[in-house]
């Protein structure tokens, strides 16, 4: 038994050394007892160009071809700790055998190996700007010129101010509900900037910045929040449930993750119509626990659908920290489980988000495949106006992320370092936007609500007889009891 165990361990050790990589959760030692160098597990995909390369890996750099199932064998991870001695010749013959199963060929092994529940090192996070807004790699700037950078920055500021003012409006009782994207301005704006107007966006609910980028006006946002008669949603849903077909932004719905499998269907449509466009499905860390996440990613891989899954991992699902949400290394590691190429990116780095989503989009469309982008960030604001996050997390943690890890400030420093922005412009912009938002709110407030008939329409394409009947009955009731009904809904 002991001999077998020693030999097994030795072989495992031998394999790790020859592949140059240990990936167990424990530190692995070589023969002399020194720790073996840790490198990323489960294969790495180096994007062409210096911009995207992950730290040196002994694995083949990504090629244009899809990874084949037969290469999975190289990614097996040994869990056993290093042991020295024993030869390994006995097991070489076993390793040479290959078995055919419905899923493809797999190598046969007589070593019992469990894949570790987690890698020794987490998947590293792609970033371009350091915390002070200075570029680390000098190759992204060409992609983001002054015009684009300034639009990105001003939209991030606009988003910030819009969120702050609308939040206050709810506190003042002017709107019933609001939800900010504070802390996630870079994810919202930079990802939107990397897409084109033809790409279909299927949001969760914290992506108002994407809609803002596409041209949805402050007035249109305000109209929806007030549910007035010019709200495109006709006053039917709570605030922040925006939707705009002219902006290719599907209407927000409250249920979590439902948009994920829908995005795959939409992407299949683009593929069959031979459109040079993709779908971008957004969701948070909490969403990835829903069955629809699993369904969507699995379908996307099988259908080879041109969809980008953008996960805003902001650390919190209302009061549930990610440690209570999952035990995987975030969301990025799950991509490979479905056969989906994935990347982890610093969600507070606008340039990194922009580059990664640009690249993802190109792969999605050119190669007709799904891509998973996990953007790490922090939800600075409360979950919504119905939440007080100080009840479940420390104030100083919130303050830290709000001040020291602020994505807007960080990007501003980069834009300023290029002399494309300055304090004067900043003050002017903030004043202007604030005025515009307040004006939009005032205007939205003065509009009537949609007419009563909008209660009954659009349930189906035409009005069925039961709704016809119910509308008549309701109108009778309103005549008899007008005081039961709000005055701002025209009857």
């Amino acid at each position: 038994m002991a001999t077998w165990l020693r030999r097994t361990r030795a072989v495992a050790h031998y394999l790790r050394r020859s592949s140059g990589r240990p990936s167990s959760s424990r530190v692995v030692l070589d023969r002399q007892g020194a720790p073996l160098p840790a490198v990323p597990p489960l294969g790495s995909v180096g994007i062409g160009g210096a911009a995207g390369r992950i730290s040196p890996a002994p694995f083949p750099v990504f090629s244009a071809k899809r990874l084949e199932s037969t290469r999975a064998e190289k990614h097996l991870v040994s869990v056993h700790e290093a042991e020295d001695d024993d030869t390994v010749e006995d097991d070489d013959d076993d390793d040479a055998q290959v078995l055919d199963f419905p899923g493809g060929k797999v190598a046969f092994t007589s070593r019992m190996q469990f894949i570790a529940e987690s890698a020794e090192e987490r998947v590293p996070c792609y970033r371009v700007l350091d915390d002070y807004g200075q570029q680390i790699e000098n190759d992204c700037s060409a992609q983001v010129n002054e015009e684009l950078a300034v639009k990105m920055y001003t939209d991030m500021v606009t988003l910030q101010i819009m969120d702050a003012v609308f939040f206050e409006a709810q506190r003042q009782g002017r709107i019933s509900f609001y939800l900010t994207s504070m802390g996630e301005e870079a994810i919202n704006i930079a990802s939107a900037a990397a897409l084109t107007d033809d790409d279909v966006v299927m949001p969760q609910y914290r992506e108002q910045g994407v809609l803002l980028w596409r041209g949805f006006t402050l007035q249109e946002f305000a109209n929806q929040c007030f549910g007035n008669k010019v709200d495109y949603g006709k006053g039917r849903q709570m605030p922040i449930h925006y939707g705009s077909n002219k902006h290719n932004y599907f209407t927000v719905s409250s249920p979590i993750a439902t948009q994920i499998p829908q995005a795959v269907g939409a992407a299949h449509s683009l593929k069959m119509d031979k459109r040079s466009a993709c779908v971008a499905a957004y969701f948070g860390d909490g969403s990835t626990s829903e069955g629809d996440f699993h369904a969507g990613l699995n379908f996307a891989a099988v259908m080879e659908a041109p969809v980008i899954f953008i996960c805003r991992n902001n650390g919190w699902a209302i009061s549930t920290h990610t440690r209570e949400q999952f035990r995987s290394d975030g969301i990025v590691v799950r991509g490979q489980a479905y056969g989906i190429r994935s990347i982890r990116v610093d969600g507070n780095d606008a340039l990194a988000v922009y580059s990664a989503v640009r690249e993802a989009r190109e792969m999605a469309i050119k190669d007709q495949m799904p891509i998973l982008v996990e953007a790490l960030t922090y939800r600075v604001g409360h979950h919504s106006t119905s939440d007080d996050s100080t009840k479940y997390r420390p104030m100083d943690e919130i303050e830290y992320w709000k001040m020291s890890r602020n994505p807007v400030n960080r990007f501003r420093k980069w834009v300023e370092s290029n002399t494309w922005w300055d304090d004067k412009k900043e003050v002017e912009l903030r004043n202007n936007i604030r005025k515009q938002v307040l004006q939009a709110i005032q205007t939205a407030e003065t509009y009537e609500k949609p007419p009563l008939s909008d209660l009954f329409r659009d349930v189906y394409d035409t009005l069925p007889s039961n709704l016809h009947e119910q509308e008549s009955q309701l109108r009778e009731t309103i005549k008899r009891h007008p005081k039961d009904y709000p005055l701002d809904v025209p009857v």
């Binding site: 495109y232 439902t258 994920i260 269907g265 593929k271 629809d292 699995n298 039961n466 016809h468």
Partner: protein, 365 residues
């Protein structure tokens, strides 16, 4: 008793209500479904072939239409999708992973982009993982977007109902759950010719629809089915047997059981009017009301458990409209309030004799 034409065929209501249809029922065996015989000889098809034909026509007439679900590619576990993948290609007819919420979610996305998406759920018993997508997404897609978006091109097909040996998970009739969801339609055909026309209507209707196919009739029901492309109207019930003493309302395979009961009742001098509801949501109250105004009695029969079944909705609505006309309480002859049993299936089901007994006691109330 004399009845005016208006009473027998019903009054025309507001223009939004489609005119009722009446077809003379052949006193034919229950399995053939009771359609009028055509002059020209159409080929006889069973239910799954009729559905197959409808799908071929749907895909042929709209290049942006798709059929997908578990095992549909090789022809489907009930052979309803035979030949489609070969004819229209893997991009339009394909297997999906085993995941109903994914199938329906995917279908919603496809339909939202303006395509006709025909999703198959292998058995209605397995539709429940997709319930969230159907209720919270498909049904509300148009309404919540202010009509900027819709997934009207979505049709979900699922075999439902007793099959003789299906037990808990191959026999269910879940229509009642879906009839409670504003925004979708629920359609159930009784025969091959009906199925073809109704399915084509559903696929082309601009609303998401759940189409339950009575699996018992897939092979058992055979009748002449016109070969051409035709549709049958939704939300129009059909009087398939005229009568004067009592109105019977049902759908799907149960109608053949009810028709047998009607024949037996006739031997006892009871004249039964039998109505196929066809569309359960939105349902044609006017046709049923007109019939009950004529007969004064109503009996509803369905395989699904009696409590909370769709018969309750029909009963309540008709009592509201016809209270003073009714001569007896509304009868419901339905499945028992148990999971669908295997060995006990004959005891569970609403049989011809249970219906016949109820017809007599209602008439003699």
């Amino acid at each position: 008793m004399a009845t005016s034409a208006a009473q027998r065929f019903g009054r025309r209501l507001a223009s939004s209500v489609p005119r009722r249809r009446f077809s003379s029922s052949a006193a034919a065996a229950a399995a053939t479904g009771g359609s009028a015989v055509q002059r020209t000889q159409n080929p006889s098809l069973n239910l799954c072939s009729a559905i197959n034909q409808a799908l071929h026509i749907a895909l042929d007439t709209d290049p942006r239409s798709y059929v997908f679900g578990e095992d549909v590619s090789f022809g489907g576990v009930f052979r309803c999708t035979v030949g489609l993948a070969d004819r229209f290609g893997k991009g339009r007819v394909f297997n999906t992973p085993l995941c109903e919420q994914g199938i329906v979610g995917f279908g919603i996305g496809l339909a939202a982009m303006g395509n006709r998406a025909v999703a198959e759920i292998q058995f209605a018993d397995y539709i429940f993982p997709a319930f969230d997508q159907i209720v919270n997404e498909a049904a509300k897609f148009r309404y919540r977007s202010g009509n900027q978006f819709n997934c009207g091109g979505l049709t979900i097909r699922a075999p439902y109902g007793a099959v003789g040996h299906g037990g808990h998970y191959h026999s269910q009739s879940p229509e009642a759950f879906f009839c409670h969801v504003p925004g979708i339609k629920v359609v159930i055909p009784r025969s091959p010719s009906q199925a073809k026309g109704l399915l084509l209507s559903c696929i082309r209707d601009p609303n998401p629809i759940v189409f339950f196919e009575p699996k018992w009739l897939y092979r058992l029901a055979v009748e002449e089915v016109p070969e051409h492309d035709y549709t049958l109207p939704l939300s129009e019930a059909e009087v398939i047997r005229e009568g004067t003493d009592i109105t019977l309302v049902g759908w799907g395979a149960q109608l053949s059981v009810m028709e047998e009961a009607c024949l037996d009742a006739e031997n006892d001098g009871i004249s039964c009017e039998l109505i196929d509801l066809k569309t359960l949501l939105p349902w044609d109250k006017e046709t049923v009301e007109a019939s009950v105004r004529k007969t004064g009695r109503l009996l509803i029969s369905h395989e699904a458990p009696v409590t909370g079944g769709f018969g309750a909705e029909i009963s309540a609505s008709i009592v509201e409209r016809c209270f003073l006309r009714l001569q007896a309480p509304v009868a419901r002859i339905c499945g028992l309030d148990t999971p669908f049993p295997l060995v006990f299936e004959p005891f569970y089901l609403p049989t011809k004799n249970k219906i016949l007994d109820a017809i007599k006691s209602t008439v003699n109330y």
